[in-house]
């Protein structure tokens, strides 16, 4: 990383901001376009997806339905119209549910966001706990094996094990499909375990690097304890590595939620995605693709901005990266 000399940056900051937003638009447009054309390759008649394969409908009615949905127009025109609607925030209408995609996804958003939010909190608590415990060779060995186990075990398996132990075995938590916070705990823990393993690995690496810095030696020479050194000094230093991970982690939470929601039979975006894929409900699939691209872009933008706030050395450089 080269640190250029600080310049007056009000103009270039604006330019780099514009560059970032432009980059976001490119990512969302690219994902929407690739998704739009790739999903045209899905075999089968969309009318079957709308009515069910066994529906007994005359060819005339089918043609009429295709006409209504604009599926008879030339593909480039359909694409342009799709983009036009996308810009206005319209993701189209679900084939199967006959509802706007925005509404369908909107209904499923809350359970998934709750799940991911609680999972992230649990993961951070676990990772911090492991950073606090990491003293002495034996403990470190144990922790690094626990981390390896956490990142290696598939979520659909840990979920089932947790249900078997805490649901059926100890009866601490409800087992299937219930409302309320208690029903959220096991799914969130399941989703949190691999994420906690990753944060913990990266955080500890950063902390080890920070703990041999001169400022840590100074702090220790004042007789400061392990926990205080961690919270007051080294953690801040190690945090920037972990922030890089945020985008990756939110992505893996999103991917993992498909499996976790299936294991625990919970409603949510993951379930909506799986339903749409098995029922070939193309507008919903495309909506999820666009949503994922938007989430990714926004997270990346936030991460970039967070860097600027945390590490002033990067401010001068960001104008180069934004290009």
């Amino acid at each position: 990383m080269t640190v250029t000399a600080p310049r007056s940056t009000s103009g270039s900051a604006l330019a780099s901001g514009a560059g970032r937003v432009g980059g976001m638009v490119v990512v969302v447009w690219g994902a929407a376009t690739a998704g739009f054309f790739a999903l045209r390759l899905v075999p089968g008649d969309p009318v079957d997806a709308m009515l069910g394969v066994n529906a007994n409908v005359s060819e005339q009615v089918r043609a009429h339905i295709r006409e209504d949905w604009g599926l008879t127009q030339p593909l480039p025109l359909q694409y342009v119209e799709y983009l036009g609607r996308l810009v206005r925030g319209d993701l189209g209408t679900s084939y199967r549910l006959q509802q706007p995609v925005v509404d369908v996804l909107g209904q499923q958003l809350a359970p998934t966001v709750q799940l991911m939010g609680l999972a992230m909190v649990i993961a951070l608590v676990l990772a911090m706990g492991s950073a606090l415990l990491a003293r002495g060779r034996r403990m470190r060995g144990l922790l690094s094996f626990a981390e390896l186990f956490a990142v290696s075990s598939p979520t659909f398996w840990t979920g089932l094990v947790l249900i078997a132990v805490f649901g059926f075995g100890l009866h601490w938590f409800p087992v299937v499909n219930s409302e309320g916070f208690a029903a959220l705990v096991l799914p969130a823990v399941t989703l949190a375990i691999p994420v906690a393993g990753i944060i913990s690995q990266v955080l500890r690496q950063g902390l080890d690097a920070a703990s041999v810095m001169p400022f840590a030696d100074t702090a220790r020479s004042r007789g400061i304890g392990h926990a205080r050194l961690l919270f007051r000094h080294t953690l801040r230093h190690a945090a920037s590595d972990s922030i890089t991970l945020t985008g990756y982690l939110v992505g893996s939470l999103l991917g993992g939620s498909v499996l976790v929601e299936t294991v625990f039979a919970r409603p949510g975006l993951g379930q909506a995605a799986l339903d749409a894929i098995t029922n070939r409900d193309i507008p919903i699939v495309l909506g999820i693709i666009v949503l994922a691209a938007v989430v990714f872009s926004v997270i990346n933008l936030i991460v970039d901005l967070a860097y600027d706030v945390i590490d002033p050395r990067l401010r001068a450089e960001s104008s180069h990266r934004g290009a």
Binding site: P154, G255, T262, T278, A292
Partner: protein
């Protein structure tokens, strides 16, 4: 002072975060030895771990080729009289609701999981190498377009990407392989591109160009072989991710259909008997976890060796 240097070196060698990360769970740089850790003891435990991991993978490979070496039971043979039996001498992993031996099913299942895991990784690596090398040697415009495309695809979590691919090509065993392969291509392509850019500036490539070797020959003979190393190390750890992703997709019912003895499918079947017969779901998952841990350990050791050689 020497300890500090050692830790710094260790931390340095463990970087390459962005690239390694998408490679999978093992791709995250491992925890580094602590400042006070005795290096010799650390090395000993590492070596023991490496032996165990390698041994496990060898057994698994044998089970793929010749599962009958380890069990006489037939993975598809139902025996209702002995349904839902707990693990014991006759059935080390117990029996499922139809009385099939879970141990035999897991052993025979390694064939599917490993074939998909290694197959998808190999395809992803080759395609990624070609795309990345192309981007690396292209002019600015071509490189820009390819890099942007890779960036757009990498906006999607691997698992979601594999799901989307399945949405397009439909479920099934081959689809599973293709979906996982496509999902991992961008990660390899990105590393291959960066590596190509590095190699392109190396002295021997310049020398070859000066000597009048054609562009294509230079790429084939010098750039690609020297890009392959880091990708192979990445792939060792990627196999674990590919196996987990494939098992996850077939857990969702998007891969092979019952009664195929595939790990994710056995697990999904055990889901309905969790209260009465935990072993049906627990053992296949345990084997998946052990497989991923083993590939991570072997991959890390390879990476450490590669880093040692480069230093």
């Amino acid at each position: 002072m020497s300890i500090i240097d050692a830790v710094r070196a260790a931390v340095k060698s463990g970087t390459g975060l962005g690239a390694g990360l998408r490679g999978g769970p093992g791709g995250v740089p491992g925890s580094r030895p602590g400042a006070g850790a005795s290096a010799q003891a650390k090395r000993r435990t590492t070596r023991v771990g490496l032996w165990i991991a390698s041994a496990f993978l060898v057994v698994l490979a044998l089970a793929t080729v010749a599962p009958w070496l380890f069990t006489t039971a037939d993975p598809l043979q139902t025996d209702v009289a002995h349904a839902l039996q707990a693990p014991g001498f006759g059935h080390p992993f117990g029996t499922d609701q139809s009385g099939r031996d879970v141990f035999a099913r897991v052993l025979y299942g390694s064939r599917y999981s490993l074939a998909i895991g290694f197959g998808a990784t190999a395809i992803g690596l080759l395609a990624g190498l070609v795309i990345g090398a192309l981007a690396g040697v292209m002019n600015r415009l071509g490189d820009g377009v390819l890099s942007r495309a890779i960036e757009v695809i990498m906006a999607f979590p691997e698992f979601l990407l594999a799901l989307i691919v399945i949405a397009v090509i439909g479920p099934g065993e081959i689809s599973l392989l293709v979906a996982v392969a496509i999902a991992v291509i961008p990660a390899y392509a990105r590393v291959a591109r960066v590596q190509t850019l590095v190699v392109k500036r190396a002295g021997y490539v310049e020398a070859a160009r000066t000597l009048g070797v054609s562009r294509v020959t230079t790429v084939l003979r010098h750039v690609i072989p020297n890009t392959l190393g880091p990708l192979l190390v990445m792939a060792t750890m990627g196999v674990g991710t590919a196996i987990t992703a494939a098992a996850g997709l077939s857990f969702l019912g998007l891969g092979p259909q019952p009664p195929t003895p595939e790990w994710g499918l056995i697990l999904a079947g055990g889901r309905n008997f969790l209260a009465t017969a935990w072993w049906i779901a627990v053992f296949p998952g345990l084997v998946i976890t052990a497989t991923v841990i083993s590939t991570s350990i072997v991959g890390r050791s390879l990476r450490a060796r590669a880093a040692g050689r480069a230093a």
